[in-house]
C-alpha cells in the first residue's frame, strides 16, 4: 500500500543539499578511480609513472578518495534523504542548514587534503601511520572532513528529534536505521579525532617532540573497524527496506532488522585489535578477547542473510513460484534497483568469508599486509557497498532531481554492474591468490631484484591490471550514468520503502538509546581499558617525526 509520504517529491532546497553530497561522492569516485587505474597498471608492469607523481601518492589519494570521501559523502546524502522522506517529508530548517555546513566543511577538507597529497606532503596512505609525518595541513584536512561529518550527523539527529517530539510509537524504520548509523559514526570517530587532535596535530606542528606510535595505531583502529560498518549499514538499509519494495514484496521482519542494527551498534566498535594482530605491545590474550567480540558482530550479518533470502522466497512464492528454488526466477533481474544491490549481496559471501579468516587470531599471519587483504576490502566496500550505493543512486538521483528512471537507464545500469563484477572478479580473485603466496599490499612495482618468488607473482599482478582496467571502465560507465540520470526526462521517481510483513509491535526498548549506548560504552571499556592503559604506561619514549618519501 503506497503511503502518501513516499510518493511526495522532495523539497527542492532539501534535495539540492542531498544531491550536492551524492554528486561530490561520484566526483571523488572518478578521481580516485584514475589513481586506482594507474596503480594497477604500474604494479602490473604495464606503465611507468612520469616524474611528478609517485605510486604512493596515487595510493594515498585512492584510499582517501574512495574509502573516506566517496563513502562518507554518499552515505550522508542517502541518510538525509531517508530521514527527510520518512520522518516528516521535509527537513527542518536546522537539519538542512547543518547538512549544508557539514557538506562545505567536508568538501573543504577533501580539497585541502587532495592538494597536500598531490604536493607530496602527505604520502602517508589513508591510514597515515606514525611516525611518518605529513604536513600539519593534511591532518587539519582530515579533521575538517570528520568534523564536517559530525555536523551532518547532528543534522540527521535533529530531524529525528523533531519527529520524536511530534510522534509517539517507534520511529519509521529507515529513520531508526539512519540514527543507529549516525550514532555508530559519532562513537567511532572519537578515536580518530582523539589521535589527530591530541597526537598528530601537536606533533606535526612541532609543539610536542615525540608521538606514541602504538597508542596512535590503537586509537586509529578503534575507529577503523566501525568505519567499515558505517559503510555497511546504509547498504543494509537498502537491502532491508528498499529492495523488498523494489521486488514487489515486504520486509521479512521489521523488529529483527532493527535488532540487527542495534547489534551492529554494540559489537562494531570494541574489536579494533583484529587489525593489529601482528603488532607488539598487545598481549595474545587481549587480542583474543577482541577476536571473540569480532565474531559476535558476524551474527547480525547472518541474520541479514536469512532475512534477504526469506524476503526473496516469500515474495517469489506469493507470485506463484513452486519448488525449492523456483522463487529465484520471480525476482526482477532486469531492474537495476534490484540487480545492483543483489550483486553486492552475492559478493558479500566471499567477502565475509575473507573477513572471518582475517580476524582469526594467529591465522591472520597468513594474510597480514598481503594483497589478500586488498582483495578482501575490494569485495566488501568496493563491491558490496559500492554496487549497493550505485543501485540506490539509480532511483535516488532522479527522485532528488525531479527526473525519471527510464528503461534505457535500467539497461545501462545493469551493464555497468556486470562490468564491475567481471572486473572485480578478475582483480580481487588475483589479489586473494597472490596474497596467499605472500605478495605484499601497498607496494609499488618490484621483483625484489628478480627474485624467483617475486617474479612468480607477476602474472597475478598482470591479471590485477586487467581487472583494474575493466573496473575503471566501470567507473566511467557509472559517472556517465549519473550524468544521464541528471539529464533524463523530468518527472517523478519513487523512493521505495517497503512495509513490514506483519504488524508486530516493535519493542520499545529498541529506541532507549541510553541503554544501547551504555552497553556499547561498557564493551569498549571492557575491551580496551586494560590493554590501552598498558600501552599508555609503556616505557617507550615515543618517536620523533620521519619523512621517508
Amino acid at each position: 500500500m503506497e503511503t502518501a509520504k513516499t510518493s511526495e517529491r522532495f523539497d527542492r532546497g532539501d534535495a539540492r543539499m542531498m544531491l550536492a553530497h551524492v554528486l561530490f561522492a561520484f566526483a571523488a569516485l572518478l578521481v580516485g578511480g584514475v589513481a586506482g587505474l594507474l596503480q594497477g597498471l604500474v604494479r602490473g608492469g604495464v606503465v611507468t609513472l612520469p616524474a611528478g607523481i609517485g605510486y604512493y601518492q596515487l595510493l594515498t589519494a585512492h584510499g582517501v578518495l574512495m574509502a573516506l570521501v566517496f563513502t562518507t559523502f554518499f552515505i550522508f546524502g542517502f541518510l538525509f534523504s531517508a530521514v527527510a522522506k520518512t520522518a516528516g517529508g521535509v527537513l527542518t530548517p536546522a537539519a538542512r542548514r547543518l547538512g549544508w555546513i557539514g557538506f562545505w566543511m567536508m568538501a573543504a577538507g577533501t580539497l585541502l587534503g587532495t592538494v597536500m597529497i598531490l604536493l607530496n606532503k602527505a604520502t602517508v596512505l589513508y591510514t597515515f601511520y606514525a611516525p611518518m609525518k605529513a604536513s600539519p595541513l593534511f591532518y587539519a584536512a582530515l579533521a575538517l572532513v570528520v568534523l564536517g561529518s559530525w555536523v551532518d550527523s547532528f543534522g540527521v539527529l535533529c530531524q529525528y528529534r523533531n519527529w520524536r517530539r511530534l510522534n509517539s510509537g517507534s520511529a519509521p524504520i529507515l529513520t531508526f536505521m539512519a540514527v543507529v548509523t549516525v550514532l555508530l559514526w559519532l562513537v567511532a570517530t572519537l578515536g580518530v579525532v582523539a589521535t589527530v587532535a591530541l597526537q598528530f596535530l601537536p606533533w606535526s606542528l612541532g609543539w610536542v617532540e615525540r608521538i606514541d606510535v602504538m597508542v596512535s595505531r590503537t586509537l586509529f583502529w578503534y575507529f577503523g573497524h566501525p568505519l567499515v560498518y558505517f559503510w555497511l549499514l546504509p547498504a543494509y538499509m537498502c537491502w532491508y527496506v528498499v529492495v523488498p519494495k523494489v521486488i514487489g514484496g515486504r520486509m521479512f521482519s521489521d523488529s529483527l532488522a532493527r535488532l540487527a542494527f542495534l547489534l551492529f551498534l554494540v559489537f562494531s566498535v570494541p574489536v579494533g585489535f583484529h587489525h593489529q594482530l601482528m603488532e607488539p605491545g598487545i598481549s595474545s590474550a587481549w587480542k583474543y578477547v577482541q577476536v571473540v567480540l569480532t565474531f559476535m558482530v558476524v551474527v547480525p550479518s547472518l541474520m541479514t542473510a536469512f532475512a534477504m533470502f526469506a524476503t526473496f522466497e516469500t515474495t517469489g512464492r506469493r507470485l506463484g513460484a513452486t519448488g525449492l528454488f523456483g522463487w529465484w526466477k520471480k525476482l526482477p533481474w532486469r531492474d537495476v534497483r534490484f540487480f545492483a544491490p543483489f550483486m553486492g549481496m552475492l559478493i558479500f559471501i566471499p567477502a565475509g568469508a575473507g573477513g572471518l579468516i582475517n580476524a582469526s587470531h594467529e591465522m591472520n599471519a597468513v594474510v597480514h599486509n598481503t594483497l589478500w587483504v586488498t582483495g578482501h576490502f575490494h569485495l566488501t566496500v568496493a563491491t558490496t557497498v559500492a554496487l549497493t550505493f550505485f543501485g540506490i543512486a539509480y532511483w535516488l538521483i532522479p527522485a532528488l532531481a525531479g527526473r525519471t528512471l527510464t528503461p534505457a537507464m535500467h539497461r545501462l545500469g545493469i551493464a555497468q554492474t556486470v562490468v564491475w563484477v567481471v572486473g572485480m572478479a578478475i582483480m580481487s580473485g588475483a589479489m586473494h591468490a597472490v596474497g596467499l603466496l605472500g605478495s605484499p599490499r601497498r607496494t609499488a612495482y618490484t621483483t625484489y631484484g628478480d627474485n624467483p618468488e617475486a617474479v612468480a607473482w607477476m602474472p597475478y599482478h598482470v591479471a590485477m591490471a586487467v581487472g583494474g582496467t575493466i573496473l575503471f571502465v566501470g567507473v566511467l560507465m557509472m559517472v556517465w550514468n549519473v550524468a544521464a540520470l541528471l539529464r533524463s526526462p523530468r518527472g517523478e521517481t519513487e523512493y521505495p520503502v517497503a512495509e513490514a510483513e506483519s504488524a508486530e509491535p516493535v519493542p520499545a526498548l529498541f529506541e532507549r538509546w541510553g541503554v544501547w549506548l551504555g552497553v556499547l560504552a561498557a564493551l569498549i571499556v571492557a575491551a580496551y581499558a586494560v590493554p590501552l592503559s598498558e600501552l599508555l604506561n609503556s616505557p617507550n619514549p615515543g618517536s620523533k617525526p620521519w619523512v621517508t618519501w
Binding site: F309, A310, R318, I349, P350, A353, S360, M363, V366, V367
Partner: protein, 45 residues
C-alpha cells in the same frame, strides 16, 4: 553441521525451506574457506 536434517517450516502461510538451504550453502562456503586457510596456516607452521 553438514548432516543436519532440514526442518519443515511452521505455518506462516509460506515455507522458508529454500531460504534455509540457501543460507546453509552460504555457511558451507564460509566453512570451506576458513578451514582451507587454517590448513595452510598449520602447514606453514
Amino acid at each position: 553441521m553438514e548432516g543436519r536434517k532440514h526442518a519443515r517450516s511452521k505455518g506462516h502461510g509460506t515455507t522458508l525451506v529454500g531460504t534455509f538451504v540457501s543460507v546453509c550453502l552460504l555457511g558451507a562456503v564460509l566453512a570451506a574457506a576458513w578451514f582451507g586457510v587454517f590448513g595452510l596456516f598449520l602447514a606453514r607452521q
